[in-house]
Amino acid sequence: MSIETTPKQSWWNRIANPGQFVAWTGRLLWPLTILTAALFVIGLWLVFFQSPGSTPNVGTTLRILYIHVPNAWLSQFVYGIMAVSALGTLVWRHPMADVSMKAAAPLGALFTLLALFTGSLWGRPAWGTFWEWDGRMTSTLVLLFIYLGIVALWRAFDDQLRAARVIAVFTLVGAINIPIIKFSVDWWSTLHQPASVLRADGPRMPPEILTPLLVMFFAFTFLFLTLHLKAMHTEIKRRRVMTMQRRAAQGAES
């Protein structure tokens, strides 16, 4: 029974210090914001002026795709980020991993919600209903529930430091389970529905659709990275204020 914690000096340890982390990554914040904005300007220009679809109706529904697909991608990418951060918390006990995990959860929920929302906006003209119990959509819905559950869990803990390791365990359990959920939902909906509305392999995309899609895809990914970094900084500040308040409470008792 002996526990040892000897600090090692490396860049890894240096960003483990919240102050250093803010100082280091603070410089990245503005370039990231500008890059995101530029990507969005280019992407939206491509979407509105280069993308096919002259008749307003078809063009509008097609344009939802440029938002829908990046968000659908992000909804899974963010969970990946959370799972990696959870490993960072559990295995390396890296303090910034906690913060990253906490900051990612609401963003993941937001992007998943957007994917569902844009998807159902699209479903209306495509299938005549907002919602279809299709495998892909259903598993995205379940993913949203998992995100929101994690957000609720973060809020239920008074002590955020203690919360991190516990939530990391849960995040990893979820990461193992998500493929199983996906598989079981597919099995369930194909079993009941003769043919899926969504074709498994989409039509070959013409380049004038693919290019704006790719640009929007990067735009949204960088949007996430920017927001994530910003949220991490906010969380670090919040924790600093809370620690100061608690220290005041203890210092003042005579």
Binding site: D158, Q245, A248, A249, Q250, E253, S254
Partner: protein, 211 residues
């Protein structure tokens, strides 16, 4: 703290009074009378029924037999007592001041203002802090501040000095003494010594284990 008599002449009188828990008599055939300006200390080993007696006087637990009354009080103008028990009834996620303000409104803001009360108990500079982060001693002080924001003649205190340091003991003594000066009554259960400036104002009732 004002030192003048603010309450009418009051007497808490119990006659052939017994209380208990779960059908079991703990304190039997008690008779005592406490008049305004006096303090009754309850003493005795663990489990002899001190807390139960206080809860009975507060009207939370029904007496087993006999009766007690606060003579001289007008039953129409609301409750006449403050009970301060083992648990501090403090809500985390509200600030210290918000916690106290709630009780000032619910019990009637007839005493000093909440911020003055916090000053008095030594929590003045913590009034904006989330009350969930208070230490045990600070929580106890907040519970005591509640006695000051609403004027009520009878104080029932269960281990008021629990979790308090020496300075806190002096605070409790000061608060009790001030209340007695104003003509109030105090009944306190305690294992610690409480030494008031006027020893003749203190009566002691020792409960014994029944077996």
């Amino acid at each position: 703290m004002t030192e003048r008599q603010v309450y009418p002449e009051l007497t808490l009188r119990a006659t052939a009074f017994s209380c208990g828990r779960g059908g079991m008599v703990l304190a039997d055939a008690l008779s005592f009378a406490v008049t305004g300006g006096n303090c009754l200390l309850l003493r005795g080993p663990n489990g002899t029924g001190k807390s139960t007696l206080l809860l009975t006087l507060a009207g939370i637990v029904a007496p087993m037999s006999g009766h007690f009354a606060l003579e001289g009080a007008d039953a129409d103008d609301g409750p006449h007592l403050h009970y301060c028990g083992h648990r501090n009834a403090i809500k985390a996620r509200l600030s210290v001041l918000e916690n106290l303000q709630l009780w000032a409104t619910l019990n009637g803001a007839t005493g000093i203002t909440p911020s003055e009360a916090l000053e008095t108990v030594g929590l003045g500079d913590l009034s904006m802090l989330d009350a969930g982060y208070l230490s045990a001693g600070q929580s106890r002080r907040l519970a005591l501040a509640r006695l000051l924001v609403s004027e009520r003649p009878l104080w029932l205190l269960d281990e008021p000095t629990a979790a308090l340091d020496t300075e806190g003991h002096a605070l409790v003594t000061r608060l009790i003494d001030g209340h007695l000066q104003r003509g109030g009554l105090v009944i306190a259960a305690t294992h610690d010594d409480i030494t008031l400036p006027h020893p003749n104002r203190v009566q002691t009732l020792t409960l014994v284990r029944k077996s």
